[in-house]
């Protein structure tokens, strides 16, 4: 069978001491920059790109890929432990992961993240190996109208991110969308909402927003009642998952993996949606949705798996067609070109050892990561026994340095202050920050695809309904709103009846 021969070739390529070493170095570095807020995989890969000049092409790409998916593992750690998400996917993990940590269940949360990610990594690597080229081709059927409808669906489904008022969640999404508009308009170059600040031309930095509305706002909330109660529960019950936990995470992990694998293939930014979509799906299909937002383990298992699966399959368009799904993949293409390989459909045929080597290295890397991360859980959890009055200055310090080091721009640090206060005030009034972050990430994409679709259709909005995939996605979006609103309406009506009885 071809597949077996190909995988054998891949293993042959990876299982050399050099390649194994650099695979490990990549994963380790990735975990590190993932744990530290700010720097992130894009900056790290850009920084390390010149060093890989001297490597064999396959070694260079194995290491760079390792940094990318390693960072997906690391990112969840900070989100769970100290509510400091470094990228949009970990913002979802923070919702329930951080609550679990506060209840002394940081160990199971971290273990769930690692195990879910490993399962997702394994399955999606297999997907890559079996069906990368046809999948990439199928994904090309997604044009601007489809992406627009997909994002609308994602936004409306994400009302589930909030466990409070739907109306306020919608409001937070729209604020996020508006904040995403800040910066130069990509179609005309007009600077928008920049108030003359040159630093805002390229938009508000995601890390500043995330650190502000999640990390800093949370610290300010905790300072409110520091005299009355201790913030973190120090008693850590157990590090490992109970039998009950295992039972609860199986289905979310599988569902998350499937969802993430599918979304990750879409080159127009589908993987951004994967963790948000998985969270919504889990909350909808759970028999106890009220637990979400207060430390439901499913809320960690699903999104983490979806995120890792999506990260893995986002390699598909790049490896098979030479088109980048996001900035990290664009850098990988740069790495290919610098190594003298022209990325494109020919890579599979002309460089089979490279292609299969990278794929197999992803599975090997995932194995290394899970072996690296599981023992680390003990260390991370011990960090939480540090008294909060010592921990929170450390969070502030990491947040400041991490944010500043992204582009050595003081403006990004000032932005933390603004979003810290905005987040604090809004959370105090019962609004939740996760939908805002989702809107912020998806806003520019939403506008870009809307405007492009309208150009392609020459101004005819019917294009969204005439194209079958787009129409189906919009129908799902309408259904998502109905599902979210109807129970609330019914509940209110019941309450009204009760009162009037």
């Amino acid at each position: 069978m071809d597949l077996l021969a190909n995988l054998a070739l891949g293993f042959e390529t990876v299982l050399t001491p050099t390649n194994l070493l650099y695979c490990f170095v990549g994963c380790l570095l990735g975990t590190l920059v993932g744990v530290l807020p700010g720097i992130g995989p894009t900056a790290t890969i850009a920084m390390l790109l010149p060093i890989t000049f001297t490597f064999e092409p396959v070694t260079a790409l194995i290491m760079l890929a390792g940094i990318y998916y390693g960072a997906q593992y690391g990112g969840s750690t900070t989100a769970i432990l100290i509510n400091l998400p470094g990228e949009s996917s970990s913002a979802v993990t923070a919702i329930d992961g951080y609550q679990m940590a506060r209840q002394g269940r940081a160990g199971p949360a971290l273990a769930t993240a690692a195990l879910g990610s490993f399962f997702a990594g394994t399955v999606s690597t297999l997907v890559l190996a079996v069906a990368a080229p046809p999948l990439a081709r199928a994904a090309l059927n997604f044009g601007a109208p489809e992406y627009f409808s997909l994002i609308v669906l994602g936004l409306l489904a994400s009302i589930a991110l909030a466990h409070g008022s739907i109306l306020k969640a919608l409001g937070m999404i729209v604020i996020g969308l508006l904040l995403g508009m800040v910066g130069q308009d990509i179609y005309t170059g007009t600077p928008r909402f920049t108030f003359g600040f040159f630093e805002l031309y390229s938009g508000i930095n995601f890390v500043s927003v995330a650190v502000g509305v999640f990390g800093v706002a949370e610290i300010l909330r905790n300072l409110e009642h520091e005299t009355t109660r201790e913030v973190l529960v120090r008693k850590v019950s157990n590090l490992w998952l109970s039998r009950e936990d295992f039972r609860r995470i199986v289905a979310p992990v599988v569902r998350g993996t499937v969802l993430g694998s599918i979304l990750g293939i879409l080159p127009g930014g589908g993987h951004v949606l994967s963790s948000f979509a998985s969270y919504s799906l889990e909350k909808r299909s759970s028999s106890r949705p009220e637990e979400f937002g207060t430390g439901a383990i499913e809320g960690v298992a699903g999104p983490e798996s979806a995120n890792n699966a999506g990260a893995q399959t986002s390699f598909i368009p790049m490896l098979t067609l030479g088109i980048p799904a996001h900035p990290v993949m664009a850098l990988m293409i740069g790495a290919f070109i610098i190594q003298g390989i022209t990325p494109g459909p020919n890579v599979i045929r002309d460089e089979p050892a490279l292609f299969w080597g990278i794929i197999v290295s992803m599975w090997v890397g995932n194995l290394m990561l899970v072996m690296l991360n599981l023992p680390l859980i003990g260390v991370w959890v011990r960090l939480l026994t540090i008294p909060y009055r010592v921990l929170f200055p450390a969070i502030i310090a990491f947040a400041c340095i991490g944010t500043y080091s992204i582009s050595l721009n003081a403006f990004d640090v000032y932005a933390i202050v603004v979003f810290g206060i905005l987040g604090y005030v809004l959370i105090k009034f019962g609004c939740e920050p996760a939908p805002l972050l989702l809107g912020f990430v998806l806003g520019p994409l939403l506008e870009e695809h809307l405007r492009r679709a309208m150009i392609l259709s020459r101004g005819d909005p019917m294009i969204f309904l005439e194209r079958p995939i787009s129409a189906a996605l919009l129908a799902c979006a309408v259904a998502a709103v109905l599902v979210a609103v109807l129970p609330a309406v019914r509940k209110r009506r019941d309450e009204v009846f009760v009162e009037e009885d």
Binding site: F198, Y201, S202, P324, A330, L331, G334, G340, P345, R452
Partner: protein, 322 residues
């Protein structure tokens, strides 16, 4: 007392600046690239950064500041310290920006010191695989016959693909609906997916797709055929001799950068352009380093002025400068 102290400090600063220019470079040099990482300009920069770094004896950091057809990065470098530690790699967009943007925050000739030209990358006219025309002549006829239904993709205002499209439409006298993207990657994605009909982009982006048979290639916009794509006719062969465009790249320092520093950078650039690896890699991308006498501040400044005049006319006649 305070006055004397200030005077001393001032003197020390002056001395330090003098010493700086002599010893340059004493720290890492940042090359700002006005487009996203992984794109053609980024690749060209990263390829020459390596040997330039060796020649300068300092690390070179490549920083991507994408946005607004490259004017964002250019504005940033124009306002940077003129000490040679922040320089700009820019392409043809440097010469078209004055015509495309009214409120440009810099002047391409006044705000920068030219360091030298780097390479002139040829462009190719390509289309989705199932697009009807098979040859460049047929493409011209088809576009002329169906101006209301064809769509042309470009990588954003001021991108090479945008300029090439303008020149093409100018040459055949037809206006086509243009769909802007954020960079070549997304534009190519939609071209492969058949969402748009055709585009014109640098060989650095298109060679892999052309060789893989993913797109239909019509012509190359250089006077001669390319070694890397020998079967592709030139636009002149295909009957449009006026439609010639190359994406030239050059290095810039902020205005006021000391002459010695510019000379050091220019020398390092020339060393890099002779580097064997650079020559081979450039050839694989379908381009070549400029002759060394072009990689000088003077030749670069001359070329820049010519290009500004040329594009000023094309863009004005296309009515795209809004």
């Amino acid at each position: 007392m305070p006055f004397r102290k200030t005077g001393a400090t001032l003197l020390a600063t002056l001395l330090a600046t003098g010493a700086l220019a002599q010893d340059y470079p004493t720290g890492p040099v940042t090359i700002v690239v006005p487009f996203a990482a992984g794109g053609p300009t980024d690749t060209v920069t990263r390829l020459i950064a390596e040997p330039m770094s060796a020649a300068l004896g300092q690390q070179i950091v490549v920083q991507n500041v994408a946005g607004a057809g490259g004017t964002l990065a250019a504005t940033q470098v124009a306002n940077a310290q003129p000490d040679g530690y922040t320089i700009l790699m820019h392409h043809i967009g440097m010469s078209t920006a004055p015509a495309l943007y009214d409120d440009l925050a810099y002047d391409p000739t006044e705000s920068f010191e030219t360091i030298g030209l780097v390479t002139i990358v040829p462009m190719t006219m390509i289309a989705r695989r199932d697009f009807e025309p098979d040859t460049f002549e047929e493409l011209v006829d088809y576009v002329t016959a169906n101006p209301d239904s064809v769509t042309y993709a470009n990588a954003g205002i001021g991108a090479a693909s945008h300029l090439c499209g303008l020149l093409f439409m100018d040459a055949i006298g037809v206006d086509v609906l243009t769909v802007p993207y954020q960079g070549t990657g997304p534009a190519m994605t939609d071209l492969l997916g058949g969402q748009v009909d055709f585009m014109c982009d640098q060989t650095t982006n298109t060679t892999g797709q052309i060789k893989g048979g993913e797109v239909k290639a019509y012509a190359v916009t250089t006077p001669e055929r390319l070694e890397s794509l020998p079967d592709l006719p030139t636009t002149a062969e295909a009957g449009l001799p006026d439609f010639q465009v190359g994406v030239w790249h050059g290095l810039y320092a902020p205005a006021g950068t000391p002459e010695e520093v510019v000379a050091t950078l220019s020398a390092a650039l020339q060393t890099a352009l002779e580097d064997e690896n650079v020559v081979t890699r450039f050839a694989e991308l379908g381009t070549a380093p400029v002759p060394l006498d072009q990689a000088t501040p003077e030749a670069h400044a001359r070329y820049l002025q010519e290009q500004i005049d040329l594009w000023g006319e094309v863009i004005a006649s296309a009515g795209a400068g809004d």
